[in-house]
């Protein structure tokens, strides 16, 4: 292993089985002159809560797309749960993502034409595995309701209203419920709090952590706001691990 990858070594993570393991990974957007990302090594252990920090345009979202298998690196391997997803056929990658990863975006997470519950259960339409896990004890809607209630949302209250009526913070909590349903192993959140004010931000983080812990998922949380980092097990600065010449300004 190259010395530059030592950033990921100094935690308790090496004891547990790594859920994410990137080796010698390089990615360039089509038509781009240079690589956006060059990461020699990044390992994340199961159950970790990672704070991925980086300046705007530094490639955070790109990295998450690679982890989710929406993008494929030109070089190197990306292993999730021991499976090298860059070697998978694209359809297999898509179902792998559906089965094992839950996403929360910055904002506008919901499909405006689906009801609250249908938005939450959406991943179960694409993943039989998550559908099965979610319906082990209750109906699918029952599980969605349970998750929403734990996130302090009352689905009955929004039953006949479009999801676009929800406040931004409420929408983000629905997105968390959607990411969590069917207990995917990895939760990836791309600046989910940037549209929230400070109070709502911490309240949201508390709920998110509680739920992630409960479902024993691993969390990768992206933000450029360093004030949040103390809440996480570990901070990964993209500028430190990315050897590509970054056009974004380092934080």
């Amino acid at each position: 292993m190259l010395p530059g990858s030592s950033v990921t070594q100094a935690t308790s993570a090496d004891l547990a089985e790594p859920i994410v393991n990137l080796q010698g990974m390089g990615f360039a957007w089509p038509n781009a002159v240079r690589d956006t990302l060059q990461i020699e090594s990044l390992t994340i252990a199961s159950g970790e809560r990672i704070f991925l920090q980086g300046a705007s345009g530094s490639g955070k979202t790109t990295l998450l797309s690679l982890l989710g298998g929406v993008l494929v690196p030109q070089r190197g391997t990306i292993s999730i749960l021991g499976q090298d997803i860059s070697q998978l056929k694209s359809s297999k990658r898509d179902s792998f993502r559906a089965d094992h990863i839950g996403f929360v975006f910055q904002m506008f997470n919901l499909l405006p034409y689906l009801s609250l519950l249908d938005n939450v259960t959406l991943p179960c339409r694409f993943s039989r595995k998550r559908h099965q896990k979610a319906t082990q004890q209750v109906t699918l809607d029952g599980e969605a309701t349970r998750l929403l209630e734990q996130l302090q949302l009352d689905p009955k209250q929004f039953k006949n209203r479009p999801v676009t009526d929800l406040s931004v913070g409420q929408q983000q909590r629905v997105a968390v419920a959607r990411a969590l349903i069917g207990q995917p192993e990895l939760i990836i959140a791309d600046e989910p709090t940037s549209a929230l004010d400070a109070d709502a931000r911490f309240a949201f983080l508390d709920l998110l952590f509680k739920e992630v812990e409960e479902s024993r998922a691993t969390l990768i949380f992206v933000s450029h706001d360093p004030s949040l980092r103390t809440h996480f097990h570990r901070t990964v600065k993209l500028a430190d691990i990315n050897k590509a010449e970054s056009r974004g300004s380092a934080v």
């Binding site: 998450l64 797309s65 929406v70 898509d94 975006f105 499909l111 959406l122 991943p123 694409f126």
Partner: protein
């Protein structure tokens, strides 16, 4: 299937645009099918009007014109022909029967046909069918009339009803033959041809009401109905006549003989040939209409393309969300394909419904104003092909935005663009 459900929900969420798009396609489909139906039905209606007649003879003019005014009661004759010529032809050894027509009067918008009893025995329509009486009999006296089915139905006439004929064929006539009323002696069964819209009287009846009207109005020496009966009611002129031959072989020979007749300028036509000529005349208009309505359909589909395409950008977010929960780029493609296919299908269905509604409304109007009887039938195989073509067009049109969304969703990764 989940994609199907998502598409439906997504469409339901955009009700207004979707509805407008569907309406645009539906109207274009209705127009397209409507033109096609009118074309077909008009032809069928014309072709059904006369059958078993070998020649139609009238004053020399265009053959289409003769065909139109003699059997379709459309337009008017420019000239009459003499009774003498008629007698000559009907006595020809090859001629099996003739039916004289004397036109020019009307009753409340319906044309009056002066003829003789041969009409009821020899006139054929459709698939060589004879005329049949629903009630009563053929006219016997001078002042008796036989009504076509529609005349009786629309005007609510029964046997024994007294009616007054008007001079000329306009809808509103100011010169009535009110001094010589006619009595309904019979009502014909419906035929689906102009016969239904005709009032039939004897040639003598026509003659009787025109005594003193030689100049076109009641200016001569007028007589009462009874006085007229005592007079010589043998007509001197008629408008046209139909000829049935003993052998079809003689058709062309007799036609030539009539066309070369020295006594007066006559024209003999074969109904089938004249119909073909009529179609030839109409083909240009027909094709123009069909082409235009075809383009209207294309416009409708382009409208749909515009709507879907312009919605794509704001739906990139939706695509990214779907991708994040495991949708494949293929799913995104299907989603949009399905959307346009559903829109086109809804447009087609709605269009067919509009077509039937339109036909139901247009049927009586066309029948009365133009004299073309439109039968409302199930969709023909041609119609179904046309509809399939519209659907296919919808799919093809949908493939464009679907492909673009597919490309975008591959290119965007997890980036949510707003």
């Amino acid at each position: 299937m989940s994609i199907y459900m998502l598409t439906l929900r997504s469409l339901a969420n955009r009700k207004t645009t979707v509805l407008l798009t569907v309406i645009a396609i539906a109207i274009s489909v209705m127009l397209f099918l409507g033109v096609e139906t009118l074309r077909r039905e008009a032809k069928a209606s014309f072709a059904n009007t006369v059958s078993g007649t070998d020649l139609i003879v009238g004053a020399r003019s265009g053959s289409v014109q003769l065909l139109l005014y003699s059997v379709f009661r459309i337009g008017n004759a420019t000239n009459n022909i003499s009774w003498e010529s008629y007698e000559k032809v009907s006595k020809h050894r090859q001629v099996a029967w003739t039916i004289p027509f004397s036109l020019g009067d009307s009753h409340r918008g319906y044309r009056v046909l002066g003829t003789n009893l041969d009409y009821f025995t020899h006139f054929r329509y459709g698939n060589k069918r004879n005329l049949e009486f629903a009630e009563g009999n053929a006219f016997d006296g001078v002042y008796e009339a036989v009504l076509g089915a529609e005349v009786a139905k629309k005007l609510g006439y029964q046997l024994g009803q007294s009616i007054i004929l008007s001079h000329g064929t306009g809808k509103v006539s100011f010169s009535d033959h009110s001094d010589k009323p006619f009595v309904v002696s019979g009502i014909l069964k419906s035929t689906g041809t102009p016969v239904d819209r005709t009032v039939h009287v004897s040639l003598e009846g026509i003659e009787a009401i025109h005594i003193g009207w030689e100049t076109g109005g009641p200016t001569g020496k007028l007589v009462t109905a009874e006085e007229a009966l005592a007079m010589d009611l043998q007509p001197e002129v008629i408008t046209a006549f139909l000829v049935g031959l003993k052998s079809k072989m003689a058709t062309f020979q007799l036609q030539r003989a009539i066309n070369n007749y020295r006594g007066e300028p006559l024209l003999a036509i074969l109904p089938g040939v004249a119909l073909q000529e009529l179609w030839g005349l109409l083909a240009v208009a027909e094709n123009a209409l069909l082409t235009i309505s075809g383009f209207v359909v294309v416009t409708g589909l382009i409208g749909m393309l515009t709507v879907i395409w312009s919605g794509l950008n704001e739906r990139r977010r939706e695509m990214a969300i779907l991708r994040s929960v495991g949708a494949r780029p293929r799913h995104i493609f299907y989603l949009l394909m399905l959307e346009s296919t559903l829109l086109a299908a809804a447009g087609v269905l709605f269009g067919v419904a509009l077509l039937y509604l339109g036909l139901a409304v247009a049927q009586p109007i066309l029948e009365q104003q133009v004299g073309i009887f439109i039968q409302i039938r199930l969709l023909s195989s041609t119609d179904l092909y046309l509809l399939a073509a519209v659907l296919l067009g919808g799919c093809l049109v949908g493939a464009l935005p679907a492909y673009r969304a597919y490309r975008l969703s591959l290119a965007d990764g997890m980036t949510i663009r707003i």
